[in-house]
Symmetry: C2
Subunit: 337 residues, 2 copies
């Protein structure tokens, strides 16, 4: 089917059939704006993926891409201690998308909506003269009304610094896309590609931590640009210095296998690779053991201590990354510029 | 200043200084997500402007563009009977924007935020390989909690069809940009360019109508693609047929002057030009006079009766556009495809 045959509104009506309206949304696609149920502590995030910058169409299916752009936004809400309610999609279509490709993209949106319990409730669709661009606004609600949102400003002197899951896997997956002939095992390839294509925002983990002891979760952010750079945001916003021990970083054997095959440094990927969408958490030290046990038990997600928060240095909040007790030269985080 | 010198986060921190946090927003730019005050009837819209499709940089200042992309979204909320609370901006920068240009764009965002009382509360910024794209998500709240949102589904058989202000002016302005040597008076040129560059969303009008008699406002939408096409949405969603008398359409003398100078048809512009951002309203017939008087008195906005709503035809809801009592051949609305 051709886009100009079906038309903008025909396409929207067609895509809408594959979308389910879930709790929290009164009026979705089709009016000037979407109407939601009352939100006690509304929380909103927005993140875009741009072709050629964040993804290449030859490396991803439309469906995986649709799920991923939603996951990236769910991850921001999860890091804030919030759950998603309604997503809005602004789509600028390039010259050569087909109706089938866009349908697959929306199937990916709906995969995410089903998985994390929200509704694709609106947005707009236009043409661009160049690349495809997918911009998502995700509206949600704070999980614990008593605790409120979890912020980047909440880390305290004495807090233990923890990450969820493993780091560097998304960068290993990207490296395999860039060098597809790399000699690694089939299962390693699959796992690392999955880390790149299908990130898991840590929504159920955050929910579990808040249920176990909401007051022990002082600060959080999600690792999208890489630990070394993202940690700087936590340090600055919380006015604490952070000390990170590179030996403690959770790096999977598969990630190490890919790095070895490419003569790359898995530690570089863990620190600056980006796109892992794990949580960096500042936790009350006396509660770390309990929270780790419960995270493992309730969600099967491991928490790893990677360092600590201390009073800011004289020069202000610093992130010190130590390798065998020696400061590593400052890491560049991934930036769009 | 060069973008690569200041960096993504430096730029965001820099831009943030020009933005004011207004009532309704607890935590704005700087965390994973923005946190808002409770919203009783939250309402969300999203609309993007893409370079080369919706605007050309040589035709507009960055500041006017920033105000306009916000105005377009405020218009959607106004049409829904809602006011804006927080805006989120997803910006994909092309190759050649300067920091100064982006500052001007944000000044335009803040102009709009001040004018219509909301906060620019978050978003993201990235690079594109091609054109600039500005995608806005606007979160608001229903103006009248008792009446609820005003929807496209609310028009009833017997309602009077009304538009605010005048139609065709934005198209006249665009025509002057396309043919700058057109021979029209200075004040006409200024007025019509302003209609194109600086649309006025009808927020204060909608507020006044709802204060006067919220139950008399049955249905509404904003005219972004042109009356002929937009009216179809109202007809279909409300299951009514609409009859529009072209002689009754409010077309300004300036619009007619531009059309005459270009041997164009002002009526075409009024029906299919798009971007007027006036409201199309379906009103209870016995309240039209009162509402018109109050709109004029409270906001200085004229309401014009342009037709009526009737039971759907046998073939379903139709939009009949009558010129001297004769059906005009069907109009094409502006579409992105």
């Amino acid at each position: 089917m051709n886009l100009s045959e079906i038309g903008e509104f025909g396409l929207i009506a067609h895509l809408q059939k594959g979308l389910e309206t879930r709790a929290g949304v009164q009026i979705g696609i089709g009016d000037d704006a979407a109407v939601l149920d009352s939100l006690h502590r509304p929380i909103v995030t927005m993140d875009a993926l741009v072709e050629g910058v964040h993804f290449r169409r030859e490396w991803t299916s439309a469906r995986a891409l649709g799920r991923k752009v939603m996951a990236v936004n769910v991850s921001d809400l999860a890091a804030s201690g919030a759950r998603p309610v309604a997503a809005f999609v602004s789509l600028a279509l390039g010259a050569d998308e087909t109706v089938e490709w866009i349908e697959e993209l929306y199937t990916g949106f709906e995969d995410a909506a089903r998985e994390w319990g929200f509704t694709v409730a609106g947005g707009d669709m236009t043409r661009s003269r160049g690349d495809l661009m997918i911009s998502i606004a995700l509206v949600g609600e704070v999980l614990s009304l008593a605790r409120g949102p979890i912020l980047r400003t909440g880390a305290q002197n004495g807090d233990v610094l923890v990450v969820s899951g493993t780091l560097g896997g998304a960068a290993a997956g990207l490296a395999l896309l860039q060098a597809p002939n790399t000699n690694v095992s089939v299962s390693t390839r699959q796992k690392m590609l999955l880390r790149h294509h299908e990130p898991t925002p840590r929504l159920s983990l955050m929910r579990a931590l808040l249920e176990v002891d909401a007051d022990a979760v002082h600060g959080a952010l999600d690792l999208s640009d890489g630990l070394a750079g993202d940690a700087v945001h936590l340090a600055r916003r919380s006015s604490v210095s952070l000390q990170i021990e590179t030996e403690w970083l959770p790096i999977s054997v598969q990630c190490r296998e890919v790095a070895a095959a490419l003569s790359a440094d898995a530690l570089d990927w863990a620190l600056a690779g980006g796109e892992d969408y794990e949580l960096l958490l500042a936790l009350a030290p006396e509660k770390v053991e309990l929270l780790s046990l419960e995270a493992e038990k309730r969600c099967g997600v491991s928490l790893t201590i990677i360092g600590k928060c201390s009073a800011p240095d004289e020069a202000g909040p610093q992130v010190k990354i130590l390798e065998n007790g020696v400061m590593r030269p400052s890491e560049g985080a991934w930036t769009h510029f």
